[in-house]
């Protein structure tokens, strides 16, 4: 497996969808290529950091009242068409 193939397969490796033989080639490549190990770590970190932005979000469970009113109000004219 080349570094290019290794990088192509990372997402599938991370979600466990590689075949057993692909998985073996993948782990064998890691044993001999420190650049790819570092790439894998930083790739994983990038995903983790993306997820972190969501964890800190204030996801509203309710739609703000003024927005709710605006949406329902703007529906009215089309009713009379």
């Amino acid at each position: 497996m080349t570094c290019r193939e290794f990088i192509d397969f990372i997402s599938e490796y991370l979600n466990g969808s590689l075949s057993p033989s692909q998985n073996d080639s993948f782990t064998q490549h890691m044993e001999k290529c420190t650049d790819c190990v570092e790439y894998l770590k930083s790739f994983n970190k990038a995903i983790e950091l993306g997820k972190m932005t969501a964890n800190d979000d204030e996801v509203p469970s309710d739609v703000p009242l003024d927005l709710l009113d605006a949406i329902l109000q703007s529906r009215k004219p089309s009713d009379q068409e």
Binding site: K41, D57, I71
Partner: protein
Amino acid sequence: MTAEGMGPALTDQESHLLHQLLSGEDKAFETLVKTFGGRMLATARRLLGNEEDAREAVQDAFLSSFKAIPRFKGDSRLSTWLHRILINAALMKERRQQSRPTPVQINDLLPTFLPDGHRADPGPEWRQMENELTRADLRKIVRAQIDRLPAEARAVLILRDIEGLSTEETASILETTPNSIKVRLHRARQALRTLLDPHFRRLS
């Protein structure tokens, strides 16, 4: 298989709501906005990066959905259908945003390789930024780089990695195949890694 056929069908609760919407019951429209509006606003904020545009996109999406309800076939979840309309409304709004910087091309953000298959510019390893920056500052950096991704890549990354939707539901929302979503997600993740690299690489 079509994109439409991939999502699960309506829940009983959604069927009931849809029936009331088709009868034009005012209360049903309010229920629709109250049930799905919060989550749609969260997605719009992530996609557009500012509150005013996010609210307008949600409003546009609901108005489009009210008009489209008679044509909704009920072959995907109501939430999936509404999310699809929202993403389209948000992307249309983004195209009109004058202030938004031109996004980077995704191909320019993918790793490059030498003819022998080795990476052309391996670069130094990443350092632990958690020790150097507050969580809020870290989040600001990551958000800014997600915002630089091309719209399509950003949408896939937000739906799959940040909101945790399945490949199938993301495919249904973005009206494409699960395979295409897998490819796009992998490219979006590589692109985000490239954009974060200058901020995280160990200083030599």
